[in-house]
């Protein structure tokens, strides 16, 4: 079962994601954003970075890439779709996750480990984690402040402190069915002792366990 890691111009975490997925026994492949057919893939990860240089709004241009039509189709079919950091912003712009992102409350670019708590295990990011489990994962973003006036997003990870003003202290949000998830901290950067934490493993393992052959 293979996961597509979609590469938009300006993303910079795609290799980390591929490395982490492969290290956990999964199979991930880089896919250029102009790709029009993802039918060989069983799941999708949109990696972090600065797609199209964050022009206009984060994720605003990327959502119109040809690959995103396929991501929408896979999401509608129930396949696991995970957006990490900038990838979550793309999912919001595409309407696959409710809400949008604005600048961090204190206008600081936050680059440090944060602690998050698992508050919902329905999602493809949290299904093999324990409710109430606390995880230490690096946050690395400026526009991490999620707002959702519709209150339709389902928070699955919550910051223990409140680093950026995100609504409901949301660190990860899923759609109602749990197969599409956006997460602001980077689980792929907490998958090896060398990186200072392995707490991201359970999240990526949840994703890999959620894959069903296409």
């Amino acid at each position: 079962m293979t996961t597509a890691v979609v590469v938009f111009p300006g993303v910079n975490c795609e290799q980390d994601v591929v490395h982490a997925v492969n290290a956990l026994g999964g199979e991930a492949e880089l896919v250029w954003h102009r790709e029009t057919d993802l039918s060989d893939f069983d799941g999708v990860i949109l990696p972090g970075g600065f797609a199209h240089g964050d022009a206009l709004r984060t994720g605003a241009i990327a959502r119109f890439s040809p690959a995103m039509a396929e991501v929408g189709r896979l999401a509608a079919e129930g396949a696991p779709v995970l957006g990490i950091c900038n990838g979550w912003q793309v999912l919001c712009e595409a309407g696959l996750i409710p809400g949008a992102h604005i600048a961090n409350r204190d206008l600081s670019f936050i680059c440090r480990f944060v602690e998050v708590e698992v508050v919902d295990t329905i999602s493809i990011l949290t299904r093999t984690a324990q409710l109430g489990q606390r995880l230490r994962i690096p946050l690395n973003s400026y526009q991490g402040n999620w707002v959702d006036p519709s209150n339709a997003g389902r928070i699955v990870l919550r910051y223990v402190d409140d680093p950026n003003g995100s609504q409901g202290r949301a660190a990860a949000v899923s759609n109602t069915t749990g197969n599409v998830v956006g997460v602001m901290p980077h689980p792929e950067r907490a998958t090896d002792d060398l990186l200072g934490s392995t707490d991201g493993r359970v999240l990526l393992e949840s994703f890999l366990h959620s894959l069903v052959p296409a």
Binding site: A60, C92, A103, R105, N145, P149
Partner: protein
């Protein structure tokens, strides 16, 4: 035709940049600055000479790309 699109963040959505600029203005003694909102203005030159047609097309541009309906409202001004 020349079109000016103003993208306003909805009043109920926080504006951390605006809050910071307001604080800086107050530090400089401009305490009369009650609120500051960092809205965006986009200038577009559009082919065509029918203002209503141009307005319709630019409205569609705003709906599809230029404004985020979760956060923002937009206003369109068309001039020749």
């Amino acid at each position: 035709m020349k079109v000016t699109v103003t993208i306003d963040r909805r009043p109920e959505i926080a504006d951390p940049e605006g809050t910071t600029v307001r604080r800086a203005l107050h530090d400089l003694g401009f305490t009369e600055a009650r609120t500051v909102r960092m809205d965006r203005v986009i200038h577009i030159e559009v082919e065509g000479d029918d203002p209503e047609q141009v307005r319709m097309r630019v409205t569609e541009m705003c709906r599809q790309l230029l404004a985020n309906p979760v956060l923002e409202d937009f206003e369109i001004e068309v001039s020749s």
